[in-house]
């Protein structure tokens, strides 16, 4: 109900504070050993506010967000499904929270057991031979994956392989990761049905090919039907296949990347395994590898010997691409994923893929019936699909962005817009398996209503949103007149 909230600094008053949270002051004598030249001259400008101020401010701020817990949030490629409360509660047991990352193994058997079993479960789910858990997001997992591909080629003396092929619809992290790994990116087109253009692929591969990065189902929301051919072409050329696991939810328990021929995969545990997105993280980007890449897995790794669990030492893994995080990656996120997988069990896993696909195909069909244009009308949807509003943009001057903003007024988060870039005016819609049919129907009704508005009073749509805490924001101004930190004189 409160639609504005001041910046926390604006509640500040000199000398105010949540003193209850502070240790007793230390005498200056106790700090006398610290050289004056290294000491801070002025206190940092931080808010001076009471505990109630803080609680009230951030509680009110939170209410300005859409979230899974409050809204349908069909953001394509993001798998915004229910994050079970149990995963959070049990990952936050006091003993887990208190455990120092360098604590002795004797006092980490519980945590290690979870990590070991998580590795094992992820192997089974992906059909890979080994799993490492420490990458801290999807892109971080991609980095680990491509770094392993490079290490593999290098280990074989095949130093020239520095090209990574990506389909043009790929997520931005794919080419960016290739660059991070010092590779050159080669984009290849997809055909009219959304499958990789095999001729283009054949033309692209060669002795410079390090590998290809794909997700399947692809970012176009369809299953890559030529996957076996793709694998053959790339493997025959000496390259490896990288699987972007962002779309794993679609095929969980149905088909496995390892079986399709992929050599390495990252999994967005914060998508398929429902750890929270937290307004932008933390995620977890565990990686899985086939036989050939096993020696290169990053550390840390959990191992089991008899009834004891232990960390694998770096010395045991001389070819490892090494450590990618200061400690154990996003350990607490991994615990949440572990809990989620135990809750699902083998039956549940399979259902996830099935019902994510059911919801997507149902929603696609209903939207088609309502007159919307599917980008790939003759294809099955995977767990997501693309609607293009090119017609609306052309005929009514109402864009995908306008539809997206107007949806907010109807109480729905917008789908992903303008990604993948090759489909004009697109909405990439992923309902996930945890939403009811009623919600999907209501979403169709809202989009249909907006379509009507676009025809009858387009201004209502193009000037949306109308009921959010702010109206449409000026992004150009944001980038031109940079205001990145609060200053006492800033306009309020």
């Amino acid at each position: 109900m409160a639609l504005t909230e001041r910046v926390i600094y604006e509640y500040s008053a000199p000398g105010r504070g949540a003193a209850d949270q502070w240790p007793a002051p230390t005498g200056e004598a106790e700090l006398s050993d610290l050289p004056a030249a290294l000491r801070r001259a002025e206190a940092p400008q931080l808010p001076e506010v009471s505990e109630l101020d803080v609680v009230r401010h951030f509680t009110r701020l939170s209410q300005l967000n859409f979230s899974i817990d409050t809204h349908f949030y069909p953001l394509g490629s993001c798998t915004m499904k229910y994050n079970p409360k149990a995963c959070n509660q049990y990952a936050m047991l006091p003993e887990f929270l208190a455990r120092h990352p360098l604590a002795p193994e004797s006092h980490g058997q519980g945590f290690l057991a979870c990590m070991y079993e998580l590795q094992e479960m992820l192997k089974e789910v992906t059909g890979m031979q080994g799993v490492a858990l420490s990458p801290m997001a999807g892109a971080h997992g991609e980095f680990a994956g491509v770094a392993m591909i490079r290490a593999y080629h290098r280990a074989r003396g095949d130093d020239a392989r520095n090209e990574i092929i990506v389909p043009e619809a790929a997520h931005g992290t794919n080419p960016a990761t290739a660059t991070m790994c010092g590779c050159v990116v080669r984009e290849i087109p997809v055909d009219t049905q959304g499958d990789v253009d095999l001729d283009a692929l054949r033309a692209a591969v060669g002795p410079q090919t390090a590998g290809i990065m794909l997700t399947n189902p692809s970012t176009l929301g369809v299953f890559e039907r030529h996957i076996e051919a793709v694998a053959r072409i790339v493997h025959d050329a000496g390259g490896l296949l990288y699987y972007d696991g962002a779309n794993l939810n679609a095929i969980l328990g149905k088909v496995r990347p390892g079986d399709m021929g992929f050599d390495v995969i990252h999994m967005n545990l914060h998508k398929t395994f429902s750890t929270p997105h937290g307004g932008g993280g933390p995620g977890a980007g565990a990686v899985g590898v086939g036989e050939r890449l096993l020696p290169f897995l990053p550390v840390p790794l959990a191992a089991k010997e008899g009834e004891r669990y232990r960390w694998v030492s770096e010395a045991e893994r001389p070819q490892s691409i090494g450590r990618l995080s200061a400690f154990m990656g996003n350990a607490g996120v991994l615990l949440r994923a572990y809990i989620y997988m135990r809750l699902l069990g083998r039956e549940g896993m399979q259902k996830v893929g099935e019902f994510a696909t059911l919801n997507a195909n149902y929603l696609l069909q209903r939207l088609k019936d309502a007159g919307f244009d599917a980008a790939y009308p003759r294809r099955r949807a995977s767990h997501e699909f693309i609607v293009t509003l090119r017609r609306q943009a052309r005929e009514l001057n109402v864009t995908a962005m306008d539809f997206a903003k107007r949806l907010l007024d109807y109480g729905f988060h917008a789908p992903t817009t303008y990604f993948p870039l090759l489909v004009p005016e697109c909405l990439l819609i992923e309902p996930t398996e945890t939403e009811t049919r009623e919600v999907l129907d209501a979403f169709v009704a809202a989009l249909s209503q907006i379509q009507k508005e676009a025809e009858q009073e387009p201004g209502r749509v193009t000037s949306a949103p109308h009921t959010m805490p702010v109206r449409r924001l000026d992004d150009v101004r944001a980038a031109r007149q940079l205001d990145l930190t609060w200053k006492p004189t800033a306009p309020s």
């Binding site: 940092p44 509680t59 899974i68 006092h107 519980g110 960016a176 083998r346 949103p465 992004d475 980038a479």
Partner: protein, 457 residues
Amino acid sequence: MAFIPHTRADVEAMLRTIGVARLEDLFDEIPAGLKIKGLDRIPEALNEMQVGRLMSERARCDGGLTSFLGAGAYEHHIPSAVWAITTRGEFYSAYTPYQAEASQGTLQMIYEFQTMIARLTGMDVSNASMYDGASATAEAALMAVRANRRSRAARILVPSTLHPHYRRVALNTTHNQGLRFEEIPYVRESGTLDPAALESLAGEDVTALVIQQPNFFGRLEDVDALTDWAHARGALVIAVVNPMSLALFKPPGRWGTKGVDIAVGEGQPLGVPLSGGGPYFGFMTARMEHVRQMPGRIVGRTLDSAGKGGFTLTLQAREQHIRRAKATSNICTNQGLLMTAATIYLSLMGAEGLKRTAAASHARTRELVALLTRIPGVRAAFQGPFFHECVLQLSRPAAGVLRSLAARGIAGGLDLAPYYPELGSAILTCATETKTTADLERYALALGDALNAAQAA
């Protein structure tokens, strides 16, 4: 199970709408040979009660230690309010704020976070977090290479007293792009960077110098001189700092004559539980002139179409979803929820609370070091002041001593042998404001016993 709300009637009606007979038909584009029947090696589902019991038992295995471990992750008091609010569904279960109008809560929080981190470090701008302190250090090196147009060497000087894991991560992250890291040794007596070693590189092309303050040993570097040294030679300076220490110490923005160029660090001390190593968050700040070279998300304040203030992601042209292969980094998902916790933590602590915490932690560690070095066979490894963490030299092999401490419920510190074999038997030990005098005494007693027992054995 699986949190699926579909009734039998729903499924039937939905299949009918789609025009297929069975769920299986939805997978008809998948080559038949690839499909699997099931996931036999996944255990059967547990219900929440069973999982709860399992996890409670697992957690119990890991409890019961009084920890004197630091080494980059620190046990500080976390106000209850921090996680009570951070785990609110509206923060916890939201995505990256792509639809700004429906994400003003997260966006404004990030803007406040950026402000607090910038003020704490004395830098102009902050991004909206990196994965952790180590990966932030790696990204800072890459950023420095982009930002330092005068240097062509992609050569980064790194003191060997930078956290060993950070050194590894930086190397592992950047070597494929051709970055070279050169380690500057430390002076054995002082445990600080050897200026002579630096001086030997005086005329060469150096892209950036990394300075950790306090360094991995808890020792304090001469940051002003080092910063000026680097700037005088056309190198950028990357500070790696513990944000808690900044309540007491000169912020990197004020090091030397000009201040550093990039300052990064591990945000964990700011309200994030130890939690077995993560999730933590890295922070990254820079001078305004470098903002377009920064990786990661940045939030800016702007106006809406009615002229009202609001917040949005900005400078997105740096990022992978726009710039793709030319982006400043591949980072996408960051550590949003941890930023939320840190922002709440910093709001509760303010400058005064942070200072008291840092000071109390330091005082506690001094007290501990005084107690322990009274024990025969224990002495401080380095001369000179440290901050809230100290290397102790032991007369017996550290590994065995630490094992017997652990058996008495004490994590005595980190064995440095794998990292700095030249130090012989040495441990890095830390106390924070969470430790009582009784805790310190218990440690001292156990350590005395452990050293005696080792002697007897």
